[in-house]
Each structure stands twice: as structure tokens, then as C-alpha cells.
Symmetry: C2
Subunit: 421 residues, 2 copies
Amino acid sequence: MKCLHADIIAVGSELLLGGRLDSNSVFVAHHLAECGIEVRKKTSVGDQKGDIQEALRDALKHAHVIVLTGGLGSTLDDCTREAVAETLQCALIKRKKAFDNLKACYRRLGRSVTPLLARQAFLPSGARMLTNSVGTAPGFLMRCGQSVIIALPGVPREAKVMMVSQVQPLLRKFFKSNRHYWHHSFQTFGLPETDIQKQLNHFLKDNRGIQFGILASPRGVTVTVSCWVFDGRPSSVKKISPGFLERAYMIHQIRDCLSPWLFAEGDRTMEEIVGEVLRARSWTIAVAESCTGGLVAHRLTGVPGSSLYMNRGVVSYSNEAKRELVGVPASTLRRYGAVSSQVAMAMASGIRMRSRVDVGVGVTGIAGPGGGTPNKPVGLVYGAIDGPQGPQSQCWKFHGDRAEITLKTSQAVLDLIRRYA
Amino acid sequence: MKCLHADIIAVGSELLLGGRLDSNSVFVAHHLAECGIEVRKKTSVGDQKGDIQEALRDALKHAHVIVLTGGLGSTLDDCTREAVAETLQCALIKRKKAFDNLKACYRRLGRSVTPLLARQAFLPSGARMLTNSVGTAPGFLMRCGQSVIIALPGVPREAKVMMVSQVQPLLRKFFKSNRHYWHHSFQTFGLPETDIQKQLNHFLKDNRGIQFGILASPRGVTVTVSCWVFDGRPSSVKKISPGFLERAYMIHQIRDCLSPWLFAEGDRTMEEIVGEVLRARSWTIAVAESCTGGLVAHRLTGVPGSSLYMNRGVVSYSNEAKRELVGVPASTLRRYGAVSSQVAMAMASGIRMRSRVDVGVGVTGIAGPGGGTPNKPVGLVYGAIDGPQGPQSQCWKFHGDRAEITLKTSQAVLDLIRRYA
């Protein structure tokens, strides 16, 4: 039961001061885990050869697998190839197959392979080439003592394809790991992070080697449950990690305990779930938005196939638009103000009637930063729904900046639809 | 002219396999640069004390400044304090001031300070406490030989406040760096990354020590220009980096060369620029969307103060909605199909007339993945605008998945408004 560790080294000066983050490491870590390999460290360095070499030397001290991403292109600041070759003290050799691929690739683009572009065809001697089926620069894989070094292009699409089609099979063959990563996630909305933690205290205390993650975002709180499990050794499994039945029972218990706030499991989104419940009921929907400015409609229509249930949306930003587009009576606006449960309800009923759909939704609130008053502060939001089960409305008070408040509001409104259906 | 280097170490197991990225390092790197300190390496490690210690030891070998983020909370897996203390071989000592702050903080939340929570009040001996004015766990700063170690909470809001109000003044005092980071960025839309690069080839070849970054996203291509400059040494400046006038002249030249596609400089967004041009013209606007499903309206209303120009939006997803909400003639829909320049134009003119605004906008297209035909493939989009300068329309063909196509479409439509005004 060998525990295999990996380091990921992302190369690119834009990762240090350019405001870019090494997003490749997310899927690289995930794909390594599928091969039983656990990432212990992620590093980002600039395009300086010395910095890449230092990171590589640090990684070689303890990692079984080292994945470098980026720095394989044709411009002069791309020097991952050189850094690896010099660290391992081997030569860079022009590969015929790599060069032929480059020629074919650039021919399709109507260009010839200049000496600068040809740099991509040079790989450390002894390295196995990883073909790039969706771009120009090939990657490579080579062994160094007990470690395996893998270099992938920085372009996510290219690295992903290479990882799945070539790297994973090789790693499985090399290491034959009998360990795999098991994980499950719960998506909740409506209960703060600290209260979710309280709900789970019982599990957190006696976690039996299972890792819990509780991560809050404007979309709600995600609870992840994960552990490394070993295959084919039933007798020893129980000691180090819970077996299949135990894990299934735990998932069942957590589901029970989170159920009042649980809207999805895995990485499905609220809008996908809402789409599903609407389709299950064969209901059509229309949305009238004020403070969210179209975000609820945009999220609903972001789901492929949503034209089956989504009929229309209106962004009735001005009072005039609220009267004209969804028929909110001028007297209701005058009496209760645009941000009120009465106006949200009138918007929901108005759009439902005018578009002849099953479910009408209305939302109005103050997204800030301006526009708040002591009685109606920034973050105050009213949502309403009208449909076959009669009218329902809800009031929320959200914190954050304008973008956060609108995102939380859209999530709350979608959750209102989900619970209604 | 000392060059100061920093390492950033982000602590948290969720950064390795939880799908989370260390976003704190973006502003930490930026704030360090403002103090003349250049980040050379970013590392993410899990909550294991040994891994934090190893990363810290690696960093101590070469970095003048080491910033750790995360792992300062009260749960048992938070062990950044212990890792630093053990690496530097000093004790963790309970700080009265930190403990008093904790007590006051939890009292406001109606809780008392349990022994677990009290862990946050223990800091390495000799460390200077960094007060947390927006959360519970204090940070700390301590010297170790030639290096300065800074530990900040993982919560971005807390780390940001601490960085600006306490860390930056201390770093400026300690290092008195005469170097600073100069950068400028250009936001373009409408020209592919490779063509932008061609436009800039002249500058890239003779870059005079200036770093260029060319980064593509669905919102367009961002060109960044940056370098480290030294203050107060006018005679030596020219040799190592271009002086103020040279930089200003270069910016001027690049602006000229990118101008047909340039929509903003700095980190301003397209919707902010559109808001500005509408306000400058005192124009009001209304938007009729099909494939973008409300994203254009959402982005327009995402700008504080947008109620001054944004009157309304409609998401006329179904043909029925196109007829009813914006009066697209049934014959136009029949004759040209919902995805056509005629329908986009009818949507623009229709919403303009019905809402009595200065500018009406219409957009219709095929976001995919389904719904494409050989004549009208996925990614085909028509946008139209009607206003004081008469009608205009445009056709685009975008690549990518549903989310990318709608984001690119929204950017193209906003750009159409910007160019119109």
C-alpha cells in the first residue's frame, strides 16, 4: 500500500503578477487522484530557467510524480524543456516525429516552421514524447530515479487531452496503484457555513479517516467528503479507511442531516436542478427581475434545452417598465415602494398572466452600493412566485458588494422555484 | 538597487484537491510589488504541518519576504502557527491582547472563547501581532535572519485589510526599496490573440527590458506592459529600464497601434465603458435578448448607477415572446427564422419604440450545444442597434461551449453599443 505523492509546477510569469491563476492544476490533481496519486504541493514560478530548475529540484526530493505545465511554446521565454534537460543533465534532441507533426500542423495554418517554432520539436534525451493532438507543442514524460517527470503545455485544452489520453494510462501502468480517491459532495443553500458545521459536528468528531471540506460561496455552502481507499485488500481496509458500506451509510446520514438545505449532490448547479423539476412537472416559466437585472433569466437559459420550459424574462428596471411590462399597478408602487413584497408578487403574477406560463417569478431589491435607506437597506430583497400551487413570497437580507448581492439573490430565487415545484 | 524577492505559501488542503485556487496570492503579489518586492514563487500546500514546514524551509533559502496565507483559524487542522514556530524553533505564546480581542469578538457573537478557539491567540514568541479588524484570527509578522515571515488569515477579506493597513507600511519601513513596479494594461476586443501579437511585434522585438503579456479570454485580449523601475537614480535608470518619458511614449505608440480594437485601459470593464458613453450622450437604453438570455442586461445593470440609463430588458426566448414583448412580425420570423439579422433588427427597433428610449438593442443566435444547422451553425449570432444615428447590425460566428458563446456574444453586443455611441 504505497502512498504516491505528486508535485505540480506551473510555469509562467503571468501566474506571479499577471493576475492569472494556475487553473490547470485543478484537473491535473483530479486526474492524478484517479490514478491513486496524491498532490502534496503546487508551485507556480515565472519563466526564468533557474526558478523552474529550483522548483524541480525541490520536488525531486520527495515526489513520485512531478507534473510541469506551461513553458513548452515557441517563444524565447518558454524554457521548461531547457530547465528539465539541464536539471537532469541530459541533452535536448530534435525529434523527427515531433518535427514532422509541427510541419504538418503549421502547413495547415499556411505557415512554415521557422527555427524559433522548431524549438518545440526538441525534447530531453530519453524522454517519451506526448503527442499534442489539439495544438502545436508536444509534451513529454521521463523517469528520473524513483520519480516520473511529466511536462504538459500550458493551454488547458491541450493539457487536458494529453493528461487523459496519454498520461493517465502510462501512470497506471508504471505504478499499478491499488489506492483510489473517493469523494462525494453536497450542495446546500440557505444555512450559514458555521451552522452547517454544527449540523455535521457529530461526523467531524468521529471522522474515521474521512476528510471533510466545508466551503462557502455566494451560491451556498458545499460540503465535500473524501478519503483515499485501497482496493482488493478487504481485511486491512477497515483499519485505515472505512469500507464501501460504511461510506455509503455515512453519505446517507449526512444527506439526511443536510436535507432541509440540500439542493444537489456532485457538481450539479441550482439552475440544472430547477430545470429538472420544471421538466418533471411539464411547467413553463417566465421571470420578471429588477435588482438581478437579468441574471436569473441568464442562469435559467444557461442550461442546454431550457427553451423547453423558459418562455421569457423581463428586466423591469424602471418603475415605468414595471408598470408596462408586467402591469404592476402604479398605486402598488406608490403605496409600498418598488422594493416590497407586494411589488415582487405583482411582478410574479403579472408576468405569469401576460405570458400564459405555469409559473411566474418576480424579484426586486436593493443591490447597492447606493439606494439604501434605514427602512430598506442595501441587500434587502423580495422574491415571489405565482403558479399552480398559489402565490408564495419571501424576503431576504444579503451582505456583500453589488455583484455578490445579485448572485446570492439569483441563487435564492432559483431555490424558491425549486422548492415550489 | 537591491532586488527583493518574495515567496507566497498558501495553506489549505482544499487548494490541492478541493477545486479551490489560491486567489489570495493575486492581491498579495500586487501589494508586495507596490512595496518594490517581486514574487518569485507561489506554493500551495495542504494542512499537514510537515508540508508547511518544508515549503517554509525552501522559501527561507532565497526569499527576503515570505507570506503565508491560511491555516490560522481555530479548527485542529489549522497549524500554520505551529509550523512556523517549530521551523524557527521558538515557542507559541498566548498573547493577552490577542486573547482580549478574541473574547470581545466572540462576545459580540454571543459565544465564549473555548480552548479550541483560544488557539488563535497563540503566536510564535518574538512575532509582531497583526490585528484582524474584520475577523477573529490575528496574523503575525516576524524576522528570521535576512527574511521577514508574514502569516495572514486565509479569508480574502481579512487578509486584504491586514495587507494594506499593517503589512505594507511595515515592509516599506523595513526595506525602504527604491524599486517599484510599473504596469499598464490595454483591453481589446475583436481581434484574435495571434493578430494582436502581430500588431505588437515591433515592440516585442525591441522591448527595452519591458515585459509584455498577451492574455486571451472570452472578454477579449488583454495586453499588459510592465517593468520594474528604480526611483531617484536618473543617471543609471536608462541602462536598466526605460525612463518615464520612454515608457509614456511606448504606451502612446501601443495605444495608437491597438486603437481599432481598444475599449479600455487599466482594469475597467466593457460594461463600465458602455455606461460612461451612454451617460456622456444622456442616452437611455433598452435591450431585447434571445440567446444571451439576460446576460447583456445583467452586465449593464451590474454597474452602480446604471438605473440612470438602463430602462428595461426583455428576454424574448420563445418566438411568441419575440412577437408579444417587442413586436417582431410573425412574417419576419417565418421568412427569415428567429436567428437572422432581420429579427435582431426588429427586436432592437421594437424594444426602442415600446420603451421610448434613445437606444434599442437586439440580439439573437444559437448558443448550442443543440439547435445548429448547416446554414445556421452553433455560434452564429446577430446583433442590432437602433437609435439616434439610425439602425446598425452585425453578424458574428463564435466558437466554444454554451457559456463561452453567450459570454462572447454579450461582450460583442456591448462593444456594438460602445462603438455606436
